[in-house]
């Protein structure tokens, strides 16, 4: 049965499926926050969500959130504390999964949210926030971003949040404890990483998207899984939950 949904809603549904029941998830804001709410409401009722401001919740926020510090994310939390506590959980390996967004990503999953463009004519982006910490320290992380050729580049201009660096065992060599990116969820498809080379690999295209379209929007010769599948679209139940937590489509309709 075909259901109408936006790219944002699809990405939220795909992201939610990355959360396993009982996991401790570094949530962040926007689409990952909705994905956490969706996962808890469906297949992962025991997932725990961490926020870098110091909030830990095991239930969805009481109401729609624009920021993680909004009142409905505080009320009913199971712990409100300092950032150092949250970062300590991350650094000590207690966080199973973290979510990240980015402006620019490369072949090995490195993310740039700091400086884009050639020296002298750089655009200044807001910066890391907790992104570099999540990318470095969580057991695995998942990236969610818009898929455009200017964003998917051979090599990012600046590594804010490390993925697999130059590939292979780079993370081990530089000393990063976390496992690195497990998936990249874009407006066009779902990507995994080759277990040896650590290069990004197209795993599935979203409904209606061709592999060729993905290639066109990717700034390097894209590797594909032996059989690229089609991403299962959000179910009616998934959409109902997403719309409950983003009733006006602030995150899933107004933007990608």
């Amino acid at each position: 049965m075909a259901v109408d949904y936006t790219p944002g809603e699809l990405m939220v549904a795909v992201a939610a499926r990355e959360i396993r029941d009982g996991e401790v998830v570094f949530v962040g804001m926007r689409l990952p926050l909705l994905a956490f709410c969706l996962a808890r409401a469906t297949h992962a009722p025991n997932a725990v969500g961490l926020f870098e401001n110091g909030i830990v919740r095991d239930s969805p926020a009481l109401a729609f959130l624009v920021t993680m510090s909004d009142g409905p994310n505080v009320a009913g939390a199971l712990w409100c504390t300092e950032m150092r506590e949250i970062m300590g959980l991350l650094q000590s390996g207690r966080v199973d999964l973290g979510f990240l967004g980015g402006a620019q990503i490369d072949r090995f999953g490195n993310l740039n949210t700091s400086y884009v463009g050639p020296p002298g004519r750089q655009t200044r982006l807001p910066g890391s926030g907790g992104g570099a910490d999540i990318a470095g320290l969580s057991r695995r992380h998942v990236v969610i971003m818009a898929h455009e050729r200017r964003r998917f580049v051979e090599r990012v201009d600046y590594v804010t949040s490390p993925g697999f660096g130059e590939g292979g065992d780079w993370r081990r060599r530089v000393g990063l404890p976390g496992g690195g990116p497990a998936a990249v969820i874009t407006t066009l498809g779902l990507f995994r990483f080759d277990p040896e080379t650590r290069e990004m690999v197209l795993a599935s295209t979203h409904p209606g998207v061709t592999v060729e379209e993905v290639r066109e929007e990717t700034g390097w010769p894209l590797a594909c899984a032996p059989s690229v599948t089609v991403t299962p679209p959000p179910t009616g139940e998934e959409l109902a939950v997403v719309r409950r937590f983003d009733p006006d489509g602030f995150w899933t309709r107004d933007r990608g």
């Binding site: 110091g54 624009v66 920021t67 009142g71 150092r84 750089q122 655009t123 570099a132 804010t160 780079w170």
Partner: protein, 310 residues
């Protein structure tokens, strides 16, 4: 504190800012991230035309963007500068990209290294070690961060040097006249920032009797003997939220975003919302009672009782 000393700590906003945040000061603010941002202090700094500040904070939401656009800052030490609700901070971008209204220096951090720098200063050690930022260009390009091998394990570590601002500005729900203060909701790096700083200004929604604080000492965020000045200023964190007092006024962030893409619009926004109202009372008057009342909590949610009996 003697009664005289206590009374002297409680200051009007303009006086606290004038006396304790001089030109050139390094000021940490926005320490609870998107909540409890001391916007009233930031606006007063703009009105008093403070110059050459170093702004220190994890993610600043649009507070830093406004100070930068107004020409108050010479340096930014932060993990993220922008508008949390809408992304880019145009004031910050123009300063970095075009040197407008004048060039600023930026020291980039992640949230964790910024927090650790403040923690190190708060704890009185020259640095704290971490495993974050290995392999990140933030480490490669921030000359204050050092990469060293752990003397125990041989593993690579990042050493974050102590970051001791001149002044910390905290907004809290309640404080007594000595500055003993309590806040609830996520507190981010607030406690570390206060202990790391020589000067601490506490802005409170409620100025309470000493007995209120002492009825619940586990709730205390910063003890009064570390606090320099107390400003009693309800709504002083607007448009950011204060749990139990008011919700976030999202419309302000949207309006500022829409009106800051062009420098002349941004300056007009600051004129309209910061300079022309003259002071915080004028700002609240311009917002209007109806708008403020709409931000009030829809219901009370009281903490379960706790008994300190003995």
């Amino acid at each position: 504190m003697s009664v005289g000393a206590v009374l002297n700590k409680v200051l009007p906003l303009a006086e606290a800012v004038r006396r304790h945040v001089p030109d050139g000061a390094a000021v940490v603010l926005g320490t609870a991230l998107e909540a409890l941002i001391p916007f009233a202090v930031a606006h007063e700094l703009i009105r008093q035309e403070r110059r050459d500040l170093a702004l220190v904070g994890p993610i600043s939401d649009l507070c830093f963007d406004q100070l930068i656009a107004a020409g108050c800052a010479r340096r930014v030490v932060a993990a993220w500068v922008g508008n949390v609700q809408h992304g880019s901070g145009y004031g910050f971008r123009r300063a970095v990209e075009q040197g407008l209204p004048h060039p600023i220096e930026v020291e980039d951090h992640s949230n964790f290294t910024l927090a650790l720098g403040l923690e190190a200063a708060a704890l009185g050690v020259p640095y704290l070690p971490t495993r974050t930022l290995l392999g990140s260009d933030i480490l490669a390009r921030n000359p204050r961060l050092r990469r060293e091998r752990c003397p125990f394990t041989g593993a690579p570590l990042v050493l974050v040097p102590a970051l001791a601002p001149d002044a910390a500005i905290l907004h809290v729900q309640r404080a007594d006249a000595e500055g003993n203060c309590q806040a609830w909701g996520a507190t981010g790096v607030s406690a570390a920032a206060a202990k790391a700083s020589r000067i601490v200004i506490v802005v409170c929604e409620e100025l309470v009797e000493a007995a209120v604080i002492r009825s619940d000492p586990n709730r205390t965020l910063v003890p009064g003997f570390l606090v320099t000045a107390v400003v009693h200023l309800p709504w002083g964190a607007h448009p950011s939220p204060v749990q139990g007092h008011y919700n976030r006024d999202h419309a302000v962030y949207r309006d500022y975003h829409q009106r800051s893409a062009r420098p002349e619009d941004l300056l007009a926004w600051l004129r309209e919302w910061v300079r022309d109202p003259g002071d915080h009372a004028g700002y609240l008057e311009k917002l209007g009672r109806q708008r403020l009342e709409a931000l009030r909590p829809r219901s009370r949610r009281l903490a379960a009782p706790v008994d300190y009996g003995c």
